[in-house]
């Protein structure tokens, strides 16, 4: 964007403004674009979810407002704007007011490191992946603020449960990404995408693979297990069924959102859908190549880019469109899976939820990290790190051996951990009735 604005202002129009003004204008333009895109995504996703979940529940869903109900989200927005904004008298005014802002702001900030196409990332931080999850952990503070300020016991309980859930499931999410970071050796999101060029086998592993943009990490055992764990953790982070205790209307009124109405409730709603969109998008980026797909790299190689300053600007637009199309297709596919899971599964109890996160997902991610280490050792290391027996093998043989070994380790660990977890959960329900015999004899007689 800096280059585009620079070319526009300095070369085409002949002005010669200093570099920092161009940078300021380009950043403002990108920010405005993102602030327009995020709510539009959220509106579309609410409509998409309501139609999809209705079809799964043998209903039709919103189909009155506009053609096939497409303007329903706008009607929802109008409703939320016009509702009265009630603040309880005993509530802490400023904290009650700021809580929705603290929940929404991080979701907007997370767009800063999401690449939409080749060369189309707002900012390529060298620690982009960690930035993404660090910022997402800020919204938990907003939830606590909402619960504390409402002076309502249900809100407080709901906030504590919601924060316990979000904080517990951040760990499997980040640890599963750690395996991918080990595979690529970088925390930058752009480089993670670029390492996924190839054809079912990443180019970084076996050089010489034809580049069809399909060398995704999902096709490796490490990436597959990491994706499964990450997707479940993302369901819990975004408070979707089966982890939607915080907004389970039948259980705890509306949890931390009980005392909010009108636009403040609308902000919580917006934050939830935008966060889910971002989690689906980052899953697509890390495990499914993001904007990588057949054709994008070929198009971008002929476009204007830092590596190729005399490209053709038409290819920029084509590569951009194709890249954004691939990213959005993958993201909406994952969001459909999230809606599908919502239609299929009942809700987990809060203690089942915590047990599942801490006692099953985290050991699984730790095993995955060991697998990632084995993968890196077999594929990338050489005599200077002490691995000499792989030197004489062809790269494709090294890839094959790494694939088989990590597949065995991951599948074996999954089976073992699943058995242990199932046995532990089954053993919990048992209560020794004789223990209660004496203490309850008096009350029952």
């Amino acid at each position: 964007m800096y280059d585009i604005i620079d070319a526009l202002l300095n070369r085409t129009l002949g002005l010669s403004w200093p570099g920092w003004i161009i940078a300021l204008i380009s950043h403002l333009a990108v920010t405005t674009l993102l602030f327009v895109i995020a709510p539009l995504q959220m509106l579309f996703l609410t409509y998409y979810e309501r139609r999809a979940i209705a079809r799964m529940q043998d209903r039709i869903g919103p189909n009155r407002v506009g053609p096939a109900g497409l303007f329903q989200p706008i009607a929802d927005g109008v409703k939320m704007f016009t509702k009265e904004d009630i603040v309880p008298t005993a509530a802490d005014k400023w904290v009650h007011f700021l809580a929705p802002c603290v929940v929404v702001a991080p979701t907007m900030l997370m767009f800063a490191v999401l690449p939409w196409g080749p060369g189309m990332v707002p900012t390529d931080l060298s620690v982009g992946l960690l930035f993404f999850f660090a910022i997402s952990s800020i919204s938990a503070v907003g939830l606590l603020m909402a619960g504390l300020a409402s002076s309502n016991k249900f809100a407080l309980l709901g906030a504590m449960r919601a924060v316990a859930q979000m904080v517990s499931y951040e760990i499997p999410a980040v640890l599963s990404l750690l395996a991918v970071v080990m595979l690529t050796g970088t925390l930058s999101v752009v480089q993670v995408i670029e390492a996924q060029a190839g054809l079912f086998i990443s180019r970084a592993d076996v050089p010489g693979i034809p580049d069809l943009g399909l060398g995704w990490f999902i096709f490796t055992p490490v990436g597959f297990l990491a994706f499964v764990v990450f997707f479940i953790a993302a369901l819990a982070e975004g408070e979707r069924t089966p982890f939607d205790i915080p907004e389970a209307d039948s259980e705890i009124v509306a949890g931390y959102m009980t005392e909010y109405s009108g636009m403040k409730f609308g902000l919580f709603y917006l934050a939830q859908y935008v966060l889910n969109f971002l989690l689906c998008a980052i899953a697509a980026v890390i495990f499914f190549g993001g904007w990588q797909g057949p054709g994008v790299n070929w198009l971008y190689a002929q476009a204007i880019s830092p590596a190729n300053p005399d490209g053709n600007w038409v290819f920029n637009i084509l590569a951009g469109f194709l890249g954004v199309f691939y990213l959005l297709a993958k993201t909406y596919a994952f969001f459909f899976v999230m809606v599908w899971v919502r239609g299929a599964f009942p809700r987990l109890r809060v203690d089942q939820l915590m047990d599942f996160g801490w006692k099953f997902l985290i050991p699984l991610t730790l095993v995955n990290i060991v697998s990632a280490a084995i993968w890196v050792a077999l594929l990338r290391w050489g005599p200077e790190q002490g691995i000499t027996f792989t030197q004489s093998w062809a790269p494709i043989l090294r890839w094959g051996v790494a694939f088989v070994v990590t597949l065995a380790v991951n599948v074996g660990a999954y089976i073992a951990l699943a058995r242990i977890f199932a046995a532990a959960q089954a053993g919990q329900g048992r209560i020794d009735l004789d223990e209660y015999r004496d203490t309850l004899t008096a009350t029952l007689r």
């Binding site: 060298s126 910022i135 952990s137 503070v141 606590l144 603020m145 504390l148 925390l187 029952l444």
Partner: protein, 222 residues
Amino acid sequence: MATVIQIIFGLIAALVVGAAVMVVTVRNVIHAALWLIACFFGVGALYMLLEAEFLAVVQVLVYVGAISILILFAIMLTRQVTGEGVRQLVGGWRLWLTAAISALLFAVAIVPTIISHAWNLPAPPGPPGTPEPLAGVAELGRAFVYEFLLQFQVAGVLLTVALIGAIVIAFEERARRRRVLTLAEEYELRKRLAQPPPVEAPAGEPAPAPRATPISEGEAHQ
């Protein structure tokens, strides 16, 4: 460009110091915790300005995303029953003494030492405008497994010990709270209370076997 950086640094410093002053002076401890979060953000921004990006992100992740939540949870679980009338700061001459000590420490000990010391800043590597070689995330990772391996492992052990210790200290005994029986369990218990309890033989018979089956059947039907 230099003035822009100075203005940004001034704003961040104002945020950090202002939020810190609010932390130590507000009455409501929840508000103090929220000002503390603002101060942590300011410190993170300062790290970003000092080009320590990984540290800035870790600051936000650990301090804002975890320690602040811990503090808010602790405040939530330890609300005073007497309400907000409790004095938050020590009273009278002790408060002024503490303030005087802090101010004197700052004005007499810290600031003159900083200003009068001759820091041997390294010479710039080239003409002004050349980027300096900065250590980044990759060097950090290598440092943790090569030079600082022992410290890294000890930090891991420390965190594990702290985790277990915190759980043990704040643990609430399960046995103190009796679990409410489900309907099936209560029915089972009533049924068995209706039969007279078996007399224990002095030879110490093992637990009667026929009783084991109804338990498992009853619970299997739940």
